[in-house]
């Protein structure tokens, strides 16, 4: 996985993966590291009180959905195989709260979750 950080005002950046400083590359205004395994990633930067954009494999991720811990001088990101599953689950919870949805049929209707409906699919196949 490629983690990239960008912000127009960054003057210093340092990546630490599982407590070890790792080298990074720079492509235009983005600072990029490769992350090959489950990792606790810390990104230190200057100036402080900056909120950089964080991308995973060129996908801009939301701080809250990704459980990114934000400090004045650094951010913490946890990467593992379940990252996107957690991301999606939190996204869905957030949408349910925002739309005031609690009932299962509304979850299906508005969010399209648990939508296999294979019972109806089998009925349709019988008619065909």
């Amino acid at each position: 996985m490629k983690l990239s950080i960008s912000h127009p005002k960054l003057t210093m950046i340092r990546f630490e993966i599982n407590g070890q400083i790792v080298p990074h590359s720079q492509i235009n205004q983005e600072f990029v590291v490769d992350v090959n395994q489950e990792s606790n990633i810390e990104v230190f930067f200057e100036p402080w009180k900056t909120k950089p954009l964080v991308r995973i494999n060129s996908h801009l991720i939301d701080y809250w959905l990704a459980d990114i811990m934000q400090f004045d001088h650094m951010i913490q990101v946890r990467w593992d195989n379940n990252f996107y599953q957690r991301y999606q689950e939190k996204n869905i919870q957030c949408k349910m709260r925002s739309l005031g949805i609690t009932k299962q049929e509304d979850i299906d209707y508005y969010l399209g979750i648990n939508n296999s409906n294979f019972d109806i699919v089998e009925q349709i196949k019988k008619y065909l």
């Binding site: 209707y109 979750i113 939508n115 109806i120 699919v121 349709i124 008619y127 065909l128």
Partner: protein
């Protein structure tokens, strides 16, 4: 000072206040009219239970085929709730009553309440909205003809409501678009007043957002679409005009979420870019505005037309979701549809959307008349190709509908296309649906309704396997099941 009663009708969502009423409210204010709002749709949602609301929805949308099949107790309740609010005494104070007939799905409620309204008041009644151009599902009688024949309203407005309603309030005659006078299609929408939401109780609606219009009409002429009937010409508001409206609603009402009603927000690429940069600059200058966000419908364009800095500008302006008519993953099908974008354009668009975290809702069609089995296989391959974006949540939702159906007034049912495609329409089940599902094409004879359903089911199974979220799919599958039953009965 005159006084107007502005009424919103079901079928309508309860997510946000109806934009049409906000437009009429602004016109009233501009023409020195006081106004009162009555959202009958919200009232029903507060008063009816779930089963009643479902039955009402099925009746309004024609799933219940006959008008008279409305449950008699529900009918009594509807009229009771209506008559409690709309009384002769209330109506005495108004000089004009305007009802928003938003779509064909409002026709049946109008059919129910308009005769009641006409019985108790001589106040002038105005009907407007796209529904005025529609026909009743079961009888196929044009709505405006029914209104005129039964003398139920004084004005029927088609086209832009702003100038026409203003002209009605000013007591003018021979107004373009009113009572059959030819519509004018080149009104300058920059001259329209900003919609007025000041008298809405925003707490009544689910989301704290409002609808906003940046343009009317479309720059394409897709074969399956009838938008050109309502808005034959594409017209757009200046970017600064739209930003001013957003700022006004924010400072007056605290609204941060905006939902564009446009058929496409990027019809004018330069104006759209200007809007995004202007809004981004306002947000950078003034941190009050930092939470402003917007969503809208969007057309996929090549990189040469929408370079990367356009997507960046959308991000900083607050674009959070785009609804895109991808329609098919087959270039040849899209070519016939007149979509004018390639597969690499789709790749570019979704990459940029992912890069800037802008979610997509993809609208698709299964069973377009020219769709061969190889085109269908391209659809299945496309679902596999883009599944990573579904798993990221960038393709937030995908909708495949209930298989291709033919609507009146769309290019696909023009004489020329019917001849080109050898389309044959089999009408026996039309009474149930407001469009035609049962058609065949002589140039693509394998694509029967049975085959379209089979492909749709296969697509559904692939979507589930790849993790695509499909809203309302249960309802779609139920409709497809009904179709499949009909075919079986026919055979």
């Amino acid at each position: 000072m005159g006084k107007a009663l502005l009424i919103n009708l079901p079928q309508y969502d309860t997510i946000a206040p109806p934009g049409a009423l906000a437009i009429l409210a602004a016109v009233c204010k501009q023409n020195n009219y006081n106004y009162t709002l009555f959202d009958f749709n919200i009232k029903l949602h507060r008063r009816l239970n779930e089963n009643q609301l479902q039955h009402l929805s099925d009746w309004l949308t024609g799933i219940i085929p006959k008008y008279d099949s409305l449950n008699s107790d529900l009918k009594k309740d509807l009229l009771k709730i209506w008559n409690e609010s709309i009384t002769p005494k209330l109506l005495e104070q108004f000089d004009i009553i305007a009802l928003s007939v938003f779509t064909v799905w409002s026709l049946r409620i109008v059919q129910l309440i308009l005769p009641e309204l006409r019985k108790i008041t001589k106040t002038k009644i105005v009907l407007g909205g796209n529904g005025c151009d529609s026909k009743f599902f079961d009888t196929k009688i044009p709505f405006d003809q029914w209104v005129v024949n039964n003398n139920l309203a004084d004005y029927i407005v088609k086209g832009d409501g702003e100038p026409t309603f203003a002209a009605i309030l000013q007591g003018k005659n021979n107004i373009p678009g009113v009572n059959g006078y030819p519509q004018k299609h080149d009104w300058d929408i920059n001259n329209y007043p900003i919609p007025d939401y000041s008298k809405f109780d925003l707490a009544e609606y689910n989301s704290k957002k409002v609808y906003i219009t940046g343009s009317r009409g479309c720059v394409r002429n897709c074969t399956f679409c009838d938008i050109a009937v309502s808005w034959p010409k594409f017209r757009y508001r200046n970017a600064d005009n739209i930003v001013e409206e957003i700022k006004k609603h924010y400072y007056d009402l605290g609204i941060t979420n905006y939902d564009f009603t446009d058929s496409l927000i990027n019809g004018s690429i330069s104006n759209f870019y200007k809007f995004n940069t202007a809004l981004a600059e306002e947000k950078a200058k003034n941190s009050d505005l930092k939470d402003i966000k917007y969503i809208g419908q969007f057309i996929c364009r090549p990189q040469s037309q929408m370079p990367k800095d356009h997507y960046e500008a959308m991000y900083y302006a607050g674009c959070t979701q785009l609804t895109v008519g991808i329609e098919s993953f087959s270039e040849s099908v899209r070519l016939h549809m007149r979509k004018k974008f390639s597969n690499s354009d789709i790749d570019y668009h979704i990459e940029q959307s992912s890069y800037w975290g802008i979610k997509n809702v993809w609208l698709m069609i299964c069973g377009y008349p020219t769709e061969t089995i190889n085109d269908h296989k391209e659809n299945l391959s496309g679902l596999k190709k883009y599944q990573q974006y579904a798993q990221q949540g960038i393709i937030e939702l995908i909708r495949w509908g209930t298989t291709m159906h033919l609507f009146e007034n769309t290019p696909i049912v023009s004489g020329e296309m019917i001849k080109e495609l050898g389309l044959k329409i089999h009408t026996e089940q039309e009474e149930i649906f407001d469009s035609v599902y049962n058609w065949t094409s002589n140039v693509n004879p394998q694509l029967t309704l049975v085959e379209r359903i089979r492909r749709r089911i296969e697509i559904h199974e692939h979507c589930v396997n790849y993790g695509y979220l499909q809203p309302r799919v249960r309802q779609e599958l139920m409709a497809i099941k009904n179709l499949a039953m009909l075919i079986k009965e026919k055979l």
